[in-house]
């Protein structure tokens, strides 16, 4: 009870602070777009200045990464406190740009650094992330190493005080706008598949690094192909032990699954509830039910899937010492969220009929076009971060204890 009171009082403080400090100039602006760099270029100078001021204020309070220790730029708070900060910022119509501005920094690189980094590495890298000043990307997948990440072939050669990297990465999100990269590289070609791999950090602004954006079926994308040609990573930027990168990346991927289990995101699909959209496009009968009963039946199943997913995420959070361990829960939730979201997008398309196949132009509302693009880009949800099939392998083996098939090399 004490704790609940404390949290409520914290909430009041946060609410007051946000109300007092969120710049008026940012009200109603596409903050996520600006933070992501997509519409940043189009923003006015006033908005840009407001954004920078807001970022600095958040960073000073350590709210870019509230649960990190204060000495690394965080606020040293608990998860419930961090949730309250997120909720109150959301409630005020504001937006916390720092996680977005750091690419993979706050969600993945930071937590992994906290666990595996040396004192010096933590001191050097974490503050730039927590403050939103340094954007990070991750060089993991390669053209011939997708779900089978461990078969990667990018090499890092020992050059005395640094490694020289050569090879190609793919799906490096935001590589073209990041300052730093965490890369998985092969440091021992003779060792077993997972044994000769290391995890290094390297700056992206150097001659040996080239990036090419990838055009997706949904149009432009944040993904790049990244080419290393004698790219340089300092020895001091080796994260974890030499040839022990596989442990680092396993942990990293757990953070990734965690971050994909259905957090809030700005989505055109959420601009109006699907059943309201359906009432608009499809119409209702005299009882107030959608006239297309076949659609209605699939719509309610999707609603129930969404409710079941959210209740399960909540339940797993609530279980102090739950029997479902975190990584297992992440696999289940990633798949349930993916299935729900992809079905939702398909339903939205179906509801809109021929307005749901628009690509561009005045014939379609911006919201309609946005949904179509999200429908397409959302197909990747079941592919990246461990595909739907890989998650099922994890559940089958790690959660249920079924024997591994002989398929893993």
């Amino acid at each position: 009870m004490q704790n609940a009171n404390e949290l409520e009082s914290f909430r009041s403080d946060v609410r007051a602070w946000v109300t007092a400090n969120f710049p008026a100039s940012l009200q109603g602006a596409d903050l996520a777009g600006i933070a992501g760099g997509e519409s940043g270029a189009r923003a006015s100078d006033t908005v840009k200045a407001g954004m920078e001021a807001w970022r600095q204020m958040l960073a000073e309070k350590g709210w870019g990464a509230p649960t990190w220790p204060v000495e690394y730029g965080g606020a040293g708070l608990t998860d419930p406190h961090a949730d309250i900060i997120g909720e109150e910022i959301h409630r005020a119509g504001a937006y916390n740009p720092i996680p977005h501005m750091t690419g993979m920094g706050v969600t993945m690189v930071g937590p992994t650094l906290l666990e595996y980094g040396s004192e010096e590495q933590k001191a050097r890298h974490l503050k730039g992330i927590a403050s939103g000043e340094i954007r990070w990307c991750l060089g993991l997948s390669e053209p011939n190493a997708g779900s089978d990440l461990a078969s990667l072939s990018t090499k890092a050669e020992d050059k005395g005080d640094y490694f020289a990297l050569n090879g190609q990465k793919i799906w490096t999100s935001g590589a073209n706008i990041s300052q730093w990269c965490g890369a998985l590289v092969r440091t021992d070609t003779d060792a077993g598949k997972r044994d000769g791999i290391s995890f290094v950090l390297l700056p992206m602004q150097q001659d040996g690094v080239e990036t090419r954006p990838i055009r997706l079926i949904s149009g432009v994308s944040p993904f790049c192909e990244t080419y290393f040609t004698d790219a340089r990573a300092e020895k001091g930027d080796l994260l974890g032990n030499l040839n022990d990168g596989w442990s680092v990346v396993k942990r990293l991927l757990q953070h990734e699954r965690q971050s994909q289990t259905g957090g809030r995101g700005v989505s055109m699909l959420d601009s109006e509830p699907l059943h309201v959209k359906a009432q608009r496009f499809v119409g209702m009968d005299d009882n107030g039910a959608l006239v297309d009963k076949d659609l209605r039946q699939r719509l309610v199943r999707n609603y129930m899937d969404g409710a079941a997913h959210r209740l399960t995420a909540q339940r797993i959070t609530d279980e102090a010492a739950g029997r479902v361990e975190v990584s297992a829960a992440a696999s289940i939730l990633k798949n349930s969220n993916t299935r729900f979201a992809q079905q939702k997008a398909e339903l939205a398309l179906e509801i809109m009929g021929s307005q749901g196949i628009g690509w561009s132009g005045d014939d379609f509302a911006e919201e309609e076009l946005g949904i179509v693009r999200e429908w397409l880009s959302g197909k990747a949800m079941s592919i990246y971060g461990g595909s739907y099939e890989v998650q099922n392998n994890i559940i089958s083996k790690n959660v249920l204890g079924l024997p591994e098939t002989t398929q893993k090399g």
């Binding site: 059943h275 309201v276 399960t312 339940r315 289940i332 099922n392 392998n393 024997p403």
Partner: protein, 372 residues
């Protein structure tokens, strides 16, 4: 599962171990083979009374412990796991809910202690047609001589042969569906047991001009409201029992996947079956969240109780439907034999799915309650 208080945890652990040692599914098999009437073992029923389960929903001043719906749900889940037969749900969950919400002090004093000590077995008599429909009540309760004359025919009444008192849904002269307490031995009441696949006590009950005093009328809520509320609670309770049936079915299946060998390997090592198990497990976790949310919403007096009860019944129903079919399929030939327990779970699954409306009905309710 949901975070439990210490008291709830103790009760749950007690129930789990009692069910496993005293009333495993083997007891149900013996009962089924004995071909006896009535649907449950009186000794087991006494034990449940002694453990205080009949008082979980009853206020302390009427002899209960008032621990709430989540607590009762957790017990129902454990009973579901071993297909334990008893009137616990019908009487101490549904019956007690009706009296709690609809009864005045006199009525509570008259009925609740009997529910708690097991001397009264109440049951809800709702359906008049094979398929549950909330508004399809034709039974009439006409005002007469300062009381009521009640007539109608009910089917698929749980524990209908063992019940001492029926909580009958009937239409008053005003056309509202109201609840009436009808002693099973009243003049004009007759009942016959239906022999169903799950071998539990379901009865047809015929009511012919049954004369009832005013005190038989549960009038504590506005017209029709009590009926709806009792049904919502009943659905959430069935969902918890279904969850238990489904979870145990999953565990049997997982065990078989780990031990049965074909082609020189345990069959769980075949990826197609491993992935199917993963999907079923995920569905089980989703079903658990929804089932628990149903009873928790009642405990919290949440605004969306009706929708949550529909969600709980629909989602556990969908899981149980798939799970019970896969229970047979993955066990293969052995699953088809009567000597093995899988068939019991499949049969009970369909009976529970049908009770108070199947998945389709609750999907429809959910959509309607959400406004589309």
């Amino acid at each position: 599962m949901a975070a439990l208080t210490e008291e709830q945890s103790i009760l749950k652990d007690q129930a789990t171990s009692w069910v496993e040692t005293e009333l495993p599914v083997q007891k149900f098999r013996e009962f089924r083979n004995s071909n006896s009437d009535g649907g449950f073992d009186p000794k087991a029923w006494s034990a449940m009374v002694d453990m205080g389960w009949t008082g979980i929903l009853v206020p302390e001043n009427y002899g209960g412990s008032d621990l709430g719906y989540l607590t009762f749900g957790v017990i129902l889940e454990q009973l579901g796991r071993q297909l334990c037969a008893s009137p616990l749900f019908a009487s101490a969950y549904v019956g007690a809910s009706a009296i709690n919400m609809g009864g005045n002090d006199d009525q509570k004093q008259r009925w609740l202690p009997g529910i708690v000590d097991g001397s009264e077995i109440l049951t809800f008599a709702v359906d008049e047609q094979p398929r549950h429909q909330r508004d399809a009540i034709a039974s009439k309760a006409s005002a007469s001589d300062g009381g009521f004359l009640l007539s109608g025919a009910k089917t698929f009444v749980p524990e209908g042969v063992s019940a001492t008192t029926f909580v009958v849904a009937a239409r008053t002269d005003a056309g509202d569906i109201e609840l009436f307490l009808v002693p099973a031995d009243a003049d004009g009441v007759s009942r016959t047991q239906m022999d169903t696949v799950d071998k539990r006590d379901h009865a047809r009950v015929t009511l012919t001009n049954v004369a009832l005093p005013t005190e038989a009328h549960l009038a504590g809520m506005p017209s029709g409201e009590l009926y709806e509320q009792v049904l919502n609670r009943a659905c959430a309770g069935v969902a918890m029992e279904m969850l238990g049936v489904g979870c145990y079915s999953f565990e049997m299946t997982l065990d078989y996947l780990k031990t049965r060998k074909q082609f020189g390997k345990v069959i769980g090592s075949f990826q197609a079956l491993g992935h199917r198990a993963a999907e079923l497990y995920s569905a089980q976790e989703m079903a658990r969240s929804c089932a628990e949310a149903g009873v928790i919403a009642i405990d919290n007096g949440a605004d969306d109780q009706a929708a949550m009860s529909a969600l709980s019944k629909a989602k556990t129903g969908e899981f149980l439907f798939d799970m019970s079919n896969q229970l047979i399929q993955i066990h293969g030939g052995i699953g088809m034999t009567d000597d093995f327990d899988a068939g019991f779970y499949l049969k009970r699954a369909r009976a529970l799915e049908a009770l108070y409306g199947n998945q389709a009905l609750h999907r429809d309710r959910y959509a309607t309650l959400l406004g589309f």
